[in-house]
């Protein structure tokens, strides 16, 4: 133990002696790890947010399609569906998207009548009169309209409509409520100018989860112009989207990993004459080959572990304190691009372990192996160069 502490002590001083070279290696290393870890953190966090969001999603969402596109659905369909066995409740929902030219942000406007569990997490209350609204934290921040403030939005007739803010969402999942503006159903229908007797979609509850697929098939059979979407399909779609995006980013950043490996290998195989001579000196004064390998192992471990941990911390701060400003546009997608929201920290330890394995081990190996080739030769040859 004492011996290794002394060797570690020497390894640190040895690294400090070559601080510019090692600093450059560490900077490249940290940058690569930070980029990779940012993608992993962001993907995982978005998936966690999505999972939280989907907890409040109905068992089935029924939309009407026309020419393959989402259309408003007649509220009359409700009566026809009500006869299908297995269905609990059918709730028409009213919602739409609103582009706010003032803040250059997309908001999601929904009617309060069709919402479920997640919207109960509210400071204040849901709107009860047509001139009231509840807003997510992001909207409130962008429009400087906190609780008891006012919000002016431009309706489909290009007329400004003034709403009193009756409540502010403080959901655990910012992703769920951050860009949300909740109006009463009546107010939302007027705002978007929806024709009477039409809803955006239906939220359908199916008490027995094993019957969801059967119920969806029956709805599709009864109303061929509808598209029933199950909760499971939604989860899968979100997962696929995030996995695809993170996969794309990881592919891009894997080039950086390869560059790092090449640099590490180049650095390691190209042991300088000065380093060779130092190995020769150490051997001549009584260091064993194993002592020199231990020295290089500790040097490699100190550089790679410090860089890895720093890279992970940088990534954590980038994603969770600075909202992944460098990656968010690619991974979040357009619909939630604005307003910005804070991600809930969440990461997969297994992914981090794999990343540690793939970056630390090759670096140490590329440091120790060439040293071994030098260290097993006679100190006389090493010192003669």
């Amino acid at each position: 133990m004492t011996k290794h502490l002394k060797i570690i002590d020497y390894a640190v001083s040895s690294l400090l002696r070559r601080k510019f070279k090692n600093g450059a290696i560490m900077a490249a290393y940290i940058g690569t790890v930070a980029a990779l870890a940012s993608v992993l953190f962001l993907t995982r966090s978005l998936q966690t947010e999505t999972t939280a969001l989907l907890q409040g999603v109905p068992d089935l969402i029924v939309q009407r399609t026309l020419g393959g596109r989402h259309e408003l659905i007649p509220v009359d369909y409700k009566a026809g569906m009500a006869g299908i066995l297995g269905i609990g409740t059918i709730t028409p929902r009213y919602w739409g998207y609103y582009y706010d030219a003032l803040t250059k942000a997309n908001y999601t406007l929904i009617g309060s009548g069709g919402e479920t569990a997640p919207l109960t997490m509210l400071e204040g209350r849901l709107p009860q009169t047509p001139d009231e609204c509840a807003v997510g934290a992001g909207v409130a921040a962008l429009r400087h309209s906190g609780r008891s403030g006012q919000l002016i939005l431009v309706d489909s007739r290009n007329t400004g409509v003034l709403f009193e803010v009756s409540g502010l969402f403080t959901s655990e999942s910012d992703l769920l409520t951050n860009d949300l503006v909740v109006l009463t159903d009546r107010s939302l229908i007027d705002f978007f100018g929806y024709p009477p007797g039409l809803a955006t979609d239906f939220a359908v509850s199916v008490p027995n989860s094993s019957e969801v697929q059967t119920v969806a098939a029956k709805i599709k059979k009864l109303f061929p112009d509808t598209r029933p979407i199950t909760k499971r399909e939604l989860v899968r779609t979100y997962d696929m989207v995030f996995n695809w995006r993170s996969g794309m980013m990881l592919t891009v950043f894997s080039a950086a990993v390869i560059a790092l490996c090449i640099m590490a290998w180049d650095k390691a195989t190209g042991i300088s004459a000065e380093e060779k001579q130092e190995i020769g000196i150490l051997k001549a004064i009584g260091w064993d080959t194993s002592d020199i390998l231990a020295l290089k192992f500790w040097e490699g471990l100190i550089i790679s572990l410090t860089s890895f941990l720093t890279g992970v911390i940088v990534a954590y701060m980038h994603v969770f304190f600075f909202n992944a400003s460098l990656l968010a546009a690619v991974l979040k997608g357009w619909s939630v691009l604005f307003p910005a929201f804070h991600l809930t920290p969440s990461f997969n330890s297994f992914h981090l372990l794999i990343m540690a394995f793939l970056t630390i081990i090759p670096y140490i190996a590329s440091t120790v192996i060439p040293t071994w080739k030098t260290a097993i030769t006679d100190p006389d040859s090493v010192m003669r160069g």
Partner: protein, 229 residues
């Protein structure tokens, strides 16, 4: 029994290649404990190569080298390191100090793999530095020292493991006459303490010094003659 016996040793560098070089050819000699032996001869005569072989820094191509009666030629690397560490202290022509380290750190280097306590290590190093009158510069980087001071650091490092044999390769090559005399005085003290000293040099100031008890003259890789005083 001689402390060191070299028996018909041959050293060929790069055997079988175009630049093959026979540095030492059929060398045989013996050195008794407490002697001051000098390997001398012109540049390229094989002094440094033979010195490396005696100090277990290189293995001969053929022949035997016995240290304390033990044939070291075929010993595994680990045992050879132990012998190098316990029996020999090396003073190199270029000093081979680590220039960015301090005087104290350089002197402590041979002790790092020995698992000694920091206090013991420091005490041992400081006492040697005091003796060589360089303790006042113990925290200075070696690169800031003069040639003579660097040599004293090299001597201190060679002595830190309390070796029985001091090996020095062209130790006065970079010293003026005054410093060379100081070096000889230091060797004289060490010799009086029982250390065996083996020096490769072509400096007459060293090989003609009364301190020397055995002079081994080399030419073209071969031992031309051995003079015992």
């Amino acid at each position: 029994m001689a402390l060191i016996e070299v028996d018909n040793v041959v050293k060929i560098y790069n055997p079988g290649l175009a630049d093959e070089l026979t540095a030492v050819h059929a060398a045989s000699l013996s050195i008794e404990a407490g002697e001051v032996a000098v390997l001398t001869g012109p540049s390229g005569s094989g002094k440094t190569s033979l010195l490396s072989l005696i100090g277990c820094m290189a293995r001969p191509t053929s022949g035997r080298i016995l240290v304390d009666g033990k044939d070291v030629v075929k010993l595994p690397e680990r045992f050879l390191t132990n012998i190098r560490r316990q029996a020999f202290g090396f003073i190199f022509q270029q000093f081979h100090l680590i220039r960015e380290l301090t005087v104290l750190e350089n002197v402590l280097l041979p002790l790092f793999p020995l698992a000694l306590g920091t206090r013991t290590m420091n005490e041992r190093a400081l006492s040697i530095l005091e003796r060589l009158k360089i303790d006042n510069k113990k925290h200075l980087q070696v690169k800031k020292l003069s040639g003579g001071e660097q040599q004293r650091v090299a001597i201190a490092r060679a002595l830190i493991n309390k070796p029985r044999i001091i090996i020095a390769d062209e130790p006065t090559a970079h010293l003026d006459r005054k410093l060379a005399q100081e070096f000889i005085d230091t060797l004289d003290q060490l010799n009086h303490e029982g250390k065996t000293i083996i020096i490769a040099t072509h400096d007459p100031f060293v090989h003609d010094n009364p301190l020397v008890t055995r002079s081994i003259v080399m030419r073209d890789g071969q031992i031309e003659r051995i003079d015992t005083k």
